[in-house]
Symmetry: C2
Subunit: 375 residues, 2 copies
């Protein structure tokens, strides 16, 4: 499934390709998040033609509740339901259940939870989240895990990790005992946990590696810990992960975070940040980020970055985009969401160029600083 | 400005072209409404490439308040501000001020009103709405009028019409005494009033005709009166309007209304209905309209009308569009807005084909019935 083409000079950055029956993905890659089967405010053809997205995410927890597996199965699977003939990854619902805090109870058999919509009771087990994702038909499915909060005591983190490991063993078995419901194949990724405890992270990396998933995700980070600690844990994890499997850091992050984590050996990212922040008026550019709602843009009658290939940057005056946001016009959300995602995918292309010509290590730290600057 | 190419057999339907410095418009035409300088949820390039819009509307009242004339003037006018190099018509604000009811006072000099945003006090006069629209730089500007409510007593309708007439005379003079602030020319349309009183409508048609505007609008209809009465007044008005001027029926309407009013001699329409109703889930099709939120679409796994050239109709399963609406996803609003406007412009093309081949009179009444049917 994964071909590693090159490892960078002086950092752990890598380039590779992930092959699925819905197409090949070149890594490092950012995956736009389509929680309910739609990347908010962006059309499917724009994801392909403008964003240059290669794979998108769906959320098992959300899709299971709405529209429900029966509707998606009747439509011929998630690809067919949402009219997307390219790769899809679905998470296992572990993170969403973790977010429910008071409305869930973890037991050995799985996670009992109440729907955030109507309070109805449900149970996710390592086995049935495989079944659900078999029904969704995503190209990459995630194993069920528990995502402990930050901070967690060492005892809690260890206990949680061990539960996750037992679930992963069951989840892997369930995957191997079942097969795709549609004409394309599916892969399953495991998830490393261990809180912010280096020895647990190391133990988890080894345990999950031994289960021989097609790819390995790093979970439990970007949940409130300091950024440096997130980098440290990522760095430690990738030291214990096999070279020949793709590595996916879940829920990260800002453009600068992506560069730092690519340098620490990550191949895949997902995050709602580019679209959620777009809807709040935060626009990422090659020279830093802006808040378009700020009064400084009210009378700014030039495009933001005429040479950057998005309509927001090259076609419109900033005064107009500011006007759209100040008046809650849908066009503002559309243009900004499209722009931020295009920016993220553009950044991945720049990274690959830098790795290819052996200049990534000389470039990424300074670039990360620039991208993290408010202008 | 206006060339009348053909009048239909057996009805008063007409075909013509309106020439502006931003392009030529073939009539009958529907003009999408971009209240604040954006047609809600639709991108400018989609208006051209997909909707095939030839002219859009802006609202003087709204644009005057937000972002304000200074911002638009600094940006080089409304076309430049919103990045739209095609014709724009702006209304005079008369209708919006009428809608403010308790927050406006009409005097001889003009309309005093309080902003719906912050309660600030403003005055629109026949002269300053010309100045404002000179600053906006729209291709077609509207004269200030009063739009009386339905029902109005004959005395009120007469008094209101006479005030509108005095305002129109002043407005026309103001237009003739000023010139465009930009490199393109502008035209001014007058507005016929008279409530639902045939003799007043007739008197107003003649009065406004005599002021020799470049085009004539029929105002004060579609404000709550029965549809048949709206048709009757429209029919009467066009009997007294010159053949060689374009006729614009303001604020109308549903697809069936357009067909009936074209048969009564109307060339131009605008209405928020296709976009507003799209956002509520009402989708117009060649076979009638649907409400996509209805449970009947929940498991409907086929496109609505595979041969109709919109993504909503031909690319997506209805179950998915239903899912988007039930979950308030922005993509639903985008696809439905784009679809309904494309449908309106498609309908105008069909009308022109029918007028051209002399079959409009045999077609429009039956078609209007079909379009007005819920499916």
């Amino acid at each position: 499934m994964f071909d590693l083409h090159k490892t960078a000079l002086s950092t752990k950055a890598r380039m590779g390709t992930l092959s699925t029956d819905h197409g090949t993905i070149s890594t490092p890659i950012f995956m736009p998040v389509g929680t309910l089967g739609t990347v908010k405010a962006v059309k499917q053809d724009e994801l392909i033609d403008k964003v240059k997205a290669q794979i998108i995410l769906g959320n098992t927890y959300h899709l299971y509740l709405r529209p429900g597996c029966d509707i998606i199965e009747n439509a011929g699977g998630l690809h067919s339901f949402i009219n997307w003939d390219h790769p899809i990854l679905t998470d296992s619902g572990g993170y969403q259940i973790f977010s429910l805090s008071d409305n869930r109870e973890l037991k050995e058999e799985g996670a009992h939870f109440k729907s955030h919509l109507d309070g109805s009771k449900h149970l996710f087990t390592p086995e049935n989240v495989v079944d659900i994702q078999r029904t969704l038909g995503s190209d990459i499915i995630m194993v069920l895990d528990e995502c402990p909060p930050y901070p967690s005591s060492r005892d809690y983190a260890k206990e949680s990790m061990e539960l996750t490991h037992r679930w992963e063993k069951r989840g892997r078995q369930a995957f191997l005992n079942t097969s795709s419901k549609y004409e394309h194949g599916q892969f399953q990724f495991g998830i490393v946990q261990g809180g912010t405890y280096p020895d647990l992270r190391k133990e988890s990396s080894k345990y999950v590696t031994d289960l021989d998933f097609e790819g390995i995700a790093i979970g439990g980070l970007s949940v409130g810990e300091p950024t440096e600690l997130m980098y440290e844990m990522t760095d430690l994890n990738t030291d214990y992960l096999p070279e020949n499997k793709p590595r996916y850091l879940m829920g990260v992050g800002k453009p600068a975070n992506l560069l730092h984590c690519i340098a620490r050996g990550i191949d895949m990212f997902d995050c709602v940040l580019p679209t959620r922040n777009a809807r709040n008026g935060q626009i990422f550019t090659r020279n830093g980020y802006i808040n378009i709602r700020n009064a400084k843009w009210k009378n700014h009658n030039r495009p933001l970055d005429p040479d950057f290939p998005t309509d927001l940057c090259s076609q419109y005056k900033m005064s107009y985009i500011h006007h759209l946001f100040r008046n809650s016009e849908l066009l503002g959300l559309e243009l900004a969401s499209l722009h931020n995602l295009t920016f993220y995918l553009w950044l991945m292309e720049k990274v690959k160029e830098r790795i290819a010509n052996d200049s990534f290590h000389n470039w990424y730290q300074e670039k990360a600083k620039v991208l993290d600057t408010k202008i």
